[in-house]
Symmetry: C2
Subunit: 495 residues, 2 copies
C-alpha cells in the first residue's frame, strides 16, 4: 500500500520544518551564549522527536536539554538549569509552566511551540545515566544512529494510527505506547504495515530484545504484556507503562485495519477511503450539537439501559497528573469492588478529571437495590463451642441453615447509593482503598453524589469554572465526550 | 429429671391400650379365620409400634402383616393379600385406601384407628427378606427382644420431642427420624436425656454400629449424616432417609432443650414449664385468627422484607407422596438455581402440596430486576482464529474488555418473572431439571404464576376444592401455615 495520501497530511512541510528548526536553534543559541556569559559549564542540545525528525505535522514538542558536566552537584544542576530556562523564556517572551520529572524543568510556550527546557548530565564517552531524564539523550542518539531515512515515514504512520485509535502516549491517563516505543517497533518490524501484521498476532506476553541482551525473560517483566528491552538499558522495559487495555486495543485495531487492507471486495478507492479513516480522529456524531443536546442524548442512552448511574464529584489538590490518575483509578475501582461485595452489581465504571480542579467518578449499577434482610452466617453446626458463643451473642434469632447456624439480619445498605454515602464518611473511608492525596476531598462536604440525570440536568452549575487551558464550555464537552466513550466502548479502534 | 409430668400425657392409658389391642386382635382373628375358611396358607400378626408397645397416646398406627409361606409366588401373595385386606375392611365397615410400598397394601379406617394391612413373607427360621416390607417383621422382633420395659417411656419421650420439634417421620416430606430409629437410639444411649446429650455433639457424619458388624464405614454410607447400621441388616443404614436439615434440626433442638434443662437460673417450676413446651406442638400466634387475617399478617411480613415473592401453582397427577415430594423439591430448586444463574438472586424458596391435587412453589427474590444489557464474553484476544470467527458472527458490535473480545447484548430476561414464564413453556422446560410426573402439568395452561399479594388476596379462589381428608378451609390454613414457617425459620426447634 502506498500511504502517500496520508503522509502528505502528517509529514511536516518545509515551512514547518524551517520554523521548528529556527526556534529550536534560537533557544539553544541563547542558552549557550548565556552560559558563556555567566561562566556556566553547560551546553544546550535538541533531543526528542525534533532531533530525530519523527514529529507529526503540527505536533512538534521541542525538547531542549541543557547538559551539565557529569561531576556537577545535582543541586547546582537544578538551580542553574531552571535559572537558564526562565531566562530563556523571558528572552523569547514565552509563557512558562514548571514541571517535575526526576527534577524540575520548564515548559515554555514560545513562537507557538511548546518547548521543554530540561537540565541533564552530559553522558558523552558512554557514561551511565545519573538522572532519569538523561535517558532521553541516549534514546535520541540510538534512534538517530539506527532509524533509516526512509523509516521516518513509517514512524509517522504508526504514531498517527496509534493516536487515532487511542493507544498513543505513555502518560498514565492513556497508558499507551510512547513515541520512542513506536520508533523501536519500526526498527524491529521495518514498516508500519509489518508492525500491524505482527501486532495482530501478539500474545499475552510479547518479548522483543533488539540488541539480544538476553534479559527479556527477567522476572521483573513477567506481568508486562509487551516487553521491549531498551536498547540503551538492558534492565529496562520500554513498554513498562503500557497498560493491558491499550496493548489489547492496539492488537484489535491492527486486525480491524488489516481486515480493511486485505479485503478484496473493496475497490482501490473504497479501500483508500476506509484506511484514511483509521488515521483521522474519530468523528463523533454529536460534535455539532450544543452541550445540552449532547447531554439529552446521553441521558436517553442511560435510560434505555435500565440501570442506575451514580456520579461522584469532588475537588482535587494540586498534584501532577501522573500521580493523580493512579489514585483515581485505585479509588473508583475499590468503591466498585466493595459495592459488588455488598451483593449489588456494578455494570461499568470510569472516572474523568480535568487534572486541575475536579474529578468525576461514574458508576453504573446493574443491581442497585436489594431486599431488606440477608442471611448472616455463623459457625458450622458441628462445632458446639463456637455455636454456644454465637448463641450467647445472638440468642433466639439463630437457626440452622444447611450446616451453619445463621440469623436473618437487616441489611445495613438497601441501595448501592446508601453504601456509597456511608463509605465516603471520614470514619468509614477505610472500607475502601483510597488514594492518599484525594482522601480528604472525597470525604469532605465538597464531594457530591448525584444520579446521572440530576447531574446532567445541572451541567452549567457543575462546570462553572475554568482551568489553565480550558473554558467551562470545553470542560463540560470534554466530560460529555468521556460519557460518550463510556456508552460506546471500543469506538476508537474501529472505523 | 423426672418426666412423669410429660409421660402422663403421652403414655396410652389402659382404656386406649385395651381398645387398640381389641381392634388389632379382631382384625387378626378375622383374617386368620378367613384364611382357614378359604384354604389360604397365611397368618396375620401385629407388627410395628402397637406390637412393640411404643406408640404415643392417640397416635396408634396399627400394622397388621399377613405372612405368606416363603416359597409363595409374589403374584399370589399380592392378589390374595389385597383380597384379604379388602374383605377385612368390609367386615369392619372401614374406609379403605390402597397404597404402594414394594407391593400394594391397604390402609383402613376401622373403629377410629388407621390400620395398615400388608401382605408379606414368613421369615421364621431366620430367612432373609424377600420384599422390602418384610423388614418390618425383623425390626419388630429386634425391638421386642432388646428394648427393656423401662425404656419404653424413654422411646415415648424421644418420639414426642422429635414430633414437637419437627424431626419425626421418615417420609420424604419430613425427611426426619423413623420410629424404629428412635427406638434404636434409646437402645444405643439408654435414655431420652442421654440421647439428646449425645446428639448435641454429633458431627457431620455420625456412625453407630450396635451389633458391631463393622460395616459402618462402607462407602455407600459416606454421604449420610447419620449412619445407624440396621441390627437386622448389616448393609442397611436405618438413617438413610434422614435429611441433613432434620439431622441438624435435631442437634440444635437438643442443645436448646439442654440449655433449659441445665439452666441453674431457673427454679424447678420454671424449668418444668419450659421443658413441657418442647413436648407440645408449637403454639402459633395466629391459630385463632381467620384465614384472611392470617393472610394479611403474612403479606405484611413479605412487604416488610422488600423482596418480590412469586407463587407458581399447578395440579399434580395421581402418584404416591413419597414419589411426589422429591420431584417437587428437585424442580423448584432447579428453577431457583437457574434464576441465580441469570444473575437474579433468590433469597429463599419452598414448596407446599396437599399431596393430592395441587402444588405451590414459593420463590422469594432478593434481586428480581436487572439492567437491559449484559456483557457477552467471547474468546480471549490472544487466539486470533477464534476472534476472527467471533467477529464473523457479531461484526462491528465487538470490542475488547480485559483480555476478551466481548459485546454488549440485550438481556433476554429483564425480570426473574420473565425468566420463569419463559422456562415453564413446553419448548423451554428442558432448561430446568423437572420431575418427570409433573412436567406436563407445570407447562400446561393450568399452571399459574402470580405475585404473593395477588395470590393471597384471592385465597378463596385458590383453595376452592377439597381433598380426601381436608376441606378447602383446612387446605388454605395449611398453606398459610407453611408460609408462616417460611417466614420464621427454626421456629419449631426452640421454645
Amino acid at each position: 500500500m502506498n500511504y502517500e495520501f496520508i503522509l502528505g497530511n502528517i509529514r511536516p512541510n518545509q515551512e514547518e520544518i524551517d520554523a521548528v528548526i529556527e526556534t529550536t536553534r534560537n533557544v539553544i543559541e541563547f542558552i549557550n551564549r548565556t552560559c558563556e556569559e555567566e561562566g556556566i559549564d553547560a551546553e544546550a542540545n535538541a533531543v526528542g522527536s525534533v532531533a530525530k525528525g519523527t514529529w507529526l505535522s503540527g505536533k512538534s514538542d521541542i525538547d531542549v536539554f541543557i547538559s551539565f558536566p557529569y561531576e556537577s552537584e545535582m543541586d547546582y544542576l537544578k538551580e542553574k538549569g531552571l535559572d537558564l530556562a526562565y531566562k530563556t523564556n523571558d528572552e523569547f517572551k514565552g509563557k512558562a509552566n514548571e514541571h517535575y520529572a526526576s527534577h524540575p524543568y520548564l515548559t515554555c510556550d514560545i513562537d507557538g511551540f511548546e518547548i521543554d527546557i530540561v537540565p541533564c548530565y552530559d553522558l558523552s564517552g558512554g557514561k551511565p545515566i545519573k538522572s532519569a531524564v538523561d535517558r532521553t539523550i541516549l534514546h535520541t542518539e540510538y534512534i538517530q544512529d539506527n532509524l533509516k531515512e526512509e523509516q521516518i515515514d513509517e514512524v509517522l504512520l504508526l504514531k498517527r494510527f496509534m493516536d487515532a485509535v487511542g493507544t498513543y502516549g505513555s502518560e498514565f491517563k492513556t497508558g499507551g505506547f510512547a513515541g520512542y516505543l513506536c520508533e523501536l517497533l519500526i526498527l524491529k518490524y521495518g514498516t508500519f504495515e509489518d508492525t500491524l501484521r505482527a501486532a495482530q498476532n501478539w500474545k499475552r506476553h510479547t518479548l522483543i530484545d533488539l540488541e539480544d541482551f538476553g534479559t527479556v525473560g527477567n522476572a521483573i517483566f513477567k506481568q508486562d504484556p509487551l516487553v521491549f528491552i531498551d536498547p540503551t538499558d538492558e534492565n529496562r522495559n520500554v513498554g513498562a507503562a503500557l497498560r493491558l487495555e491499550r496493548y489489547v486495543d492496539f492488537i484489535v485495531a491492527s486486525r480491524n485495519f488489516l481486515d480493511v487492507l486485505d479485503n478484496d471486495d473493496l475497490d482501490d478507492y473504497e479501500r483508500q477511503e476506509k484506511i484514511l479513516e483509521f488515521f483521522n480522529p474519530l468523528l463523533k456524531e454529536h460534535l455539532d450539537k450544543s452541550k445540552e443536546e449532547i447531554a439529552k442524548d446521553i441521558l436517553e442512552s442511560f435510560k434505555d439501559r435500565e440501570t442506575q448511574t451514580l456520579v461522584i464529584k469532588f475537588p482535587i489538590p494540586i498534584m501532577s497528573a501522573d500521580a493523580l490518575h493512579p489514585q483515581l483509578l485505585k479509588t473508583v475501582s475499590s468503591i466498585c469492588e466493595k459495592i459488588d461485595m455488598e451483593e449489588f452489581s456494578v455494570f461499568k465504571y470510569d472516572y474523568w478529571t480535568d487534572e486541575e480542579k475536579f474529578v468525576i467518578f461514574t458508576i453504573e449499577l446493574n443491581v442497585f437495590k436489594q431486599g431488606k434482610y440477608y442471611i448472616h452466617k455463623g459457625p458450622k453446626v458441628w462445632t458446639k463451642k463456637a455455636c454456644d458463643n454465637f448463641k450467647a451473642k445472638w440468642g433466639d434469632a439463630l437457626y440452622p441453615l444447611d450446616e451453619f447456624m445463621v440469623l436473618t439480619r437487616e441489611r445495613q445498605f438497601k441501595t448501592a447509593k446508601d453504601f456509597i454515602i456511608h463509605t465516603l464518611q471520614e470514619e468509614n473511608i477505610h472500607i475502601i482503598k483510597v488514594g492518599k492525596n484525594i482522601k480528604e476531598a472525597i470525604c469532605s462536604d465538597d464531594c457530591i453524589l448525584l444520579e446521572i440525570d440530576e447531574f446532567l440536568n445541572d451541567l452549567d452549575d457543575q462546570f462553572n469554572y475554568n482551568i489553565s487551558n480550558k473554558t467551562s464550555e470545553e470542560l463540560a464537552r470534554d466530560y460529555l465526550n468521556s460519557l460518550d466513550d463510556f456508552l460506546n466502548p471500543g469506538q476508537y479502534i474501529k472505523r
